[in-house]
């Protein structure tokens, strides 16, 4: 991937990302991967499922699997009073929704501000991130959505 990134950086193009926060950290998701953004939802817990799977919810007659990233990212569980939002993405014909605390705006970011994920970052973070954008006030971690969902099929290492 580094090759194409370098090329696009050279071209000085822009990419669009939807921002969202989880436990104070801002993440970016390529806007083209986002299907839907939902507010509070009734989520049905799925017993025996791995920790990242928060449950299932109904999106207009389709069953969507809700994914909680806090555990994977080593973050504390969400305080009960905090609101929840869901970002719906599609992967291999199935719908998943990422649980976030809030959804921000769509940012169009120049490729020149893109950096590879620092090698010193925790392995679990590196596994979930494609790279980082330097924003004025903060750093935006770009989530590798397909990679993260694919990771759900591997053996549950944290059970």
């Amino acid at each position: 991937m580094t090759k194409t990134d370098k090329e696009s950086t050279a071209n000085g193009g822009n990419k669009e990302f939807l921002t969202a926060t989880i436990a104070g950290q801002t993440f970016g998701i390529p806007v083209l991967q986002v299907q839907d953004v939902l507010g509070e939802q009734k989520v049905t817990r799925v017993p025996l499922a791995r920790k990242e799977i928060a449950g299932s919810l109904n999106l207009r007659g389709r069953v969507v699997t809700a994914i909680n990233l806090r555990h994977k990212l080593g973050m504390p569980e969400k305080p009960a009073e905090l609101k929840t939002m869901y970002i719906v993405v599609e992967h291999k014909g199935e719908l998943y929704s990422l649980i976030v605390d809030s959804v921000g705006e769509v940012l169009s970011l120049p490729d020149k501000d893109f950096e590879k994920t620092p090698a010193t970052l925790e392995a679990s973070w590196r596994a979930l991130a494609i790279g980082i954008y330097r924003l004025k006030e903060q750093l935006l971690v770009i989530l590798d959505v397909p990679g993260m969902l694919e990771g759900l099929f591997t053996k549950d290492d944290a059970a």
């Binding site: 817990r45 017993p47 025996l48 499922a49 799977i53 299932s56 969902l149």
Partner: protein
């Protein structure tokens, strides 16, 4: 017009249309194997169907065309322009005949011998001779004219929606009450309204004029229905939300219209759902005829037994499995079932049976097709596999029978010795498998040479609608498919339906049996619901041969649910067969009773004699035999039971006659000292008066078991539930007179009294040196298995027990070896005599193994009958000494 012919016409016209373009493609890409295969199959299907409908002219032309396609497929004939034109000509001829049938319901008169001769010439490798003008040009032109009328685009594009889709119960009566069902059989007429520009096809006209009701069926693209279905689901959810809001409002002006809306939506939902569901019997109806025709043609006697034909499945799925099913049933009849003479020679009834069985199982529809025919010949398949280059000689050598049998699913594989018009070109199984896998199903096969073949098709219910029970455990709701639910029982704190525990395992008494229970909360690892004590309920479910209860907190209602497959990331959780969206919009998981049964292990009992478990040696659920039981009280707790047949005498001894010898209480009894054992330590022995004692005798030894009192002697069907752990001196528990009682293990007390009781003769004289004799015990009663197995084990034998002759034969087929087989006579399914015949049959691996009969009644006739069936010895069930003696003499002989 005959329904079958009608259907055939619709199908064939579709096939022919596809054929035309395919053949032309073939001319351009003569090496396209897939294409050749597809054309071949299409022609094969046409030929096959004609054969059954009695259309000899059509069949002949198709057969000879197929011959050529067969050679193309083998690569032994080049695809040339001339041969392709000839085949096209043959297809035109087929079309002409088909059009004739549509018009007159009869095959039109005509002579195809010239065409056939030319087809054969090509088949034999000669150049296609140019057609004699007069013979071909005329029919060709005519065929073209017919073809124009026949382009059935609507038929091709739209799947038929049969009228009976609206009344799911109808198909059972379909054949009998022809009148209401008839419209459904006229899908061809539908072409008219859909494509009015199209010249109406003659058949349609005839059909319409004959039965005006034909207008009532319409072909609708399944995709349209699918979309409708999704939209209706949305509508239902929205309706429910509206109703929810309405409930919070008083005197809303919206109430009447909303209620009306609600009703309409419900009806709409039901209607749309029903358009998709059809009983599998629809696909089976033509099988009866096919089997009959095979019987006639091949001179066989075949009985087609169809069960579960009311099982509903999605129309689309039904359509897709129709052909594979037909193929397989045809195969069973053609290859599986032997001719009557051969069957009689093999000791089978003259009439072969093909059993079709359909049922819902854990979110799937399972269809079993089994025959009691000759099974697959592994050697022949092995040879053929090497011949066809599917596998090398070396590979084949290392394969198990099961693996070799799987070759029949390989493309172009047929082991039929002759190519008959019925089957045997190797089209069958590869197509069947492809078609089933296409809809996400699986197909399994089990075949035993000489015994028969069983195919099990499992098709997911992706869109099928099931009725489910909605339950709650720890605040979460789940759906349990109604199909596996037997009954609901409310657990009460006291009385009949109270929860009892055996070694921490919850059980419940349900009428005359013990029901093992599992807690949904526990197996799903949910937190126990807090707060007030909820009146729990038990859902009695049946999975295969197992029955068990699932404890839930609440039971809501039954609901028709649309099964949706679980997300791939949740597939690894076997307890769920799918998920669904309820009326209130929430997602709930559908429990798979099968998965639950597996998760809790074999709930009934698992026998582990001599530390072994065998696949196929399964638990016993019910024992129908009545046994006399002696009920006695000893120490605290419920009364205990012991089979009366094991007790020699009941005695009352004067307490002051009891003496002490060493640590042991003894009494002088019949000229010898007999040890007396208290039932347990907690028992308070009497100080004076008389002491009731159960006397057990064996050979010249006796032993007395001291009890508090003898309560009763009852004759009951006992169903001993074996305790999972070894409770000291207990065999297990059973419901006797509505009470759970421990059944004592006499062997345990006997060995306390005489350390060497069972081992009395185990001085090695009847054992093969080094290795103990291996004995197989076949008895359906868990009680006797558990009585005899320890006894034989103690006597130094290696014992394996099974609950039925079938399980025993499985072991036989698995290559297990035994030095002796002891079998019960009265067993459900396969009785002892039948079992003996199988064991002693000439192709049995066990034909030289000694076989003892064990029965509770041993009259002279029984003895004779047993000997005739192949038993080497016949022993009365409770004559332990005779049994040991017989085994010993056997050991000596060996």
């Amino acid at each position: 017009m005959d329904d079958l012919i009608q259907e055939f016409l619709a199908e064939t016209t579709e096939s022919l249309n596809a054929l035309d373009s395919d053949i032309v493609k073939l001319e351009q890409n003569p090496d396209d194997k897939d294409l050749i295969g597809r054309i071949f199959r299409l022609v094969h299907t046409i030929k096959g169907t004609c054969g059954f409908l009695g259309l000899p002219r059509l069949e002949a032309v198709a057969h000879h065309s197929e011959n050529i396609m067969g050679r193309y497929r083998d690569g032994s004939l080049q695809v040339t322009v001339d041969s392709v034109s000839l085949i096209l000509e043959a297809f035109d001829c087929i079309k002409e005949i088909v059009a004739g049938i549509a018009e007159t319901e009869k095959e039109p008169e005509g002579d195809d011998s010239d065409l056939i001769a030319r087809l054969d010439a090509v088949f034999e490798g000669k150049d296609a001779p140019s057609a004699p003008k007069a013979a071909t040009s005329e029919p060709k032109e005519k065929a073209k004219a017919e073809k124009k009328e026949f382009v059935p685009t609507p038929e091709q594009l739209f799947e038929p929606v049969k009228a009976e889709g609206y009344s799911p119960a109808a198909p059972a009566s379909e054949e009998k009450t022809a009148a209401p069902a008839k419209p459904a059989a006229k899908p061809a007429t539908a072409a008219k309204p859909v494509a009015p520009a199209e010249t109406a096809h003659p058949a349609a006209n005839t059909a319409t004029s004959a039965t005006p009701a034909g207008e009532s069926s319409l072909r609708v693209n399944v995709e349209v229905l699918e979309n409708l279905m999704t939209m209706v689901s949305e509508l239902v959810l929205t309706r429910n939300q509206l109703l929810q809001i309405l409930r919070t409002q008083n005197d809303s002006p919206f109430t009447p219209p909303l209620q009306r809306l609600s009703h309409v939506v419900s009806d709409l939902q039901e209607g749309v759902m029903q358009t998709r569901m059809q009983p599998i019997g629809n696909a089976w109806s033509k099988l009866t005829r096919i089997i009959r025709d095979i019987s006639v043609e091949l001179g066989k006697k075949i009985n087609l037994d169809m069960r579960g034909s009311e099982t509903e499945l999605d129309r689309q799925v039904l359509e897709l499995i129709k052909d594979p099913l037909t193929h397989m049933v045809r195969n069973s009849g053609d290859h599986g079932i032997e001719p009557p003479a051969e069957r009689l020679a093999a000791g089978k009834p003259e009439e072969g049976t093909i059993l079709l069985n359909a049922f819902h199982e854990g979110g799937h529809i399972v269809i079993e097709i089994s025959d009691d025919g000759r099974g697959l010949n592994t050697d022949r398949i092995r040879k053929k596999a090497v011949e066809k280059g599917v596998a090398t000689e070396e590979q084949v050598k290392n394969m198990t029978e099961q693996q070799i049998q799987q070759f029949i699913f390989a493309a172009g594989f047929s082991t039929a010795e002759k190519i008959t018009s019925v089957s045997g070109r190797g089209v069958g199984m590869d197509v069947v498998r492809t078609n089933i896998e296409k809809i996400g199903g699986t197909i399994e096969m089990k075949s035993v040479e000489g015994k028969g073949t069983t195919f099990t098709i499992k098709i997911p219910l992706t869109l099928a609608i099931v009725s489910a029970l909605i339950v709650e455990a720890s605040g979460e709701r789940f759906a349990i498919p109604q199909i596996s639910v037997q009954e609901l029982v409310r657990l009460s704190k006291t009385g009949e339906n109270k929860l009892e525990e055996i070694h921490g395992t919850p059980v419940m008494r349900l009428r005359d049996r013990l029901l093992p229970l599992v807690s949904l909360t526990k197996i799903l690892k949910l937190e126990e619901a807090q707060g007030q004590r909820i009146n729990k309920q038990v859902i009695v479910v049946e999975v295969g041969a197992q029955t068990f209860g699932i404890i839930v907190d609440r039971v809501f209602d039954t609901e028709e649910i649309v099964v949706k497959p679980v997300s791939p990331v949740l597939k690894n959780i076997r307890l769920f067969s799918g998920n669904t969206i309820l009326g209130d919009g929430s997602v709930i998981m559908i429990l798979d009773p099968n998965g639950i049964a597996n998760a809790v292990g074999k709930i009934a009992d698992v026998h582990k004699e001599s530390g072994k478990t065998h696949e196929g040696v399964r638990a016993v659920s019910d024992n129908e035999r009545k046994t006399s039981l002696l009920i006695f009280k000893a120490g605290p707790g419920a009364p205990r039971a012991v089979p009366l047949s094991l007790v020699s005498r009941l005695e009352d001894f004067e307490v002051d006659k009891i003496e002490i010898s060493g640590q042991q209480k003894v009494i002088q009894y019949r000229g010898a000292l007999m040890p007396l054992i208290p039932f347990n330590d907690k028992m308070i022995l009497k100080e004076k008066g008389s002491q009731p004692v159960l006397v057990f005798s064996d050979r010249d030894r006796s032993m007395g078991l001291m009890v508090d009192s003898i309560v009763d002697i009852v004759e009951e069907r006992i169903n001993v539930q074996i305790t999972s752990e070894n409770k000291f001196g207990m065999l297990g528990s059973a419901i006797i007179h509505g009470q759970a009682m421990d059944v004592i293990d006499v062997g345990h007390f006997l060995s306390i009294a005489h350390n060497d009781w069972f081992g009395a003769k185990s001085d090695g004289q009847f054992q093969k040196k080094g290795k103990p004799m291996k004995i197989l015990l076949v008895d359906d009663s868990p009680f006797f298995r558990n009585m005899l197995s320890p006894m034989l084990s103690i006597a130094g034998y290696d014992v394996v027990s099974t609950q039925s002759g079938f399980d025993a034969m499985d072991l036989c087929n698995a290559g297990e070896h035994f030095d002796l087989i002891i079998s019960d006579i009265e067993m459900p399914g396969m009785n002892g005599y039948e079992f003996a015949q199988r064991v002693k049959s000439s192709d049995s691996k066990w034909r030289n193994t000694p076989l003892f009969a064990l029965s509770s009644h041993a009259t002279a006739q029984d003895l004779d009958r047993g000997k005739a069936a192949g038993f080497n010895d016949y022993i009365a069930k409770f004559d332990r000494e005779a049994l040991l003696r017989s085994i010993a003499s056997l050991g000596e002989a060996a």
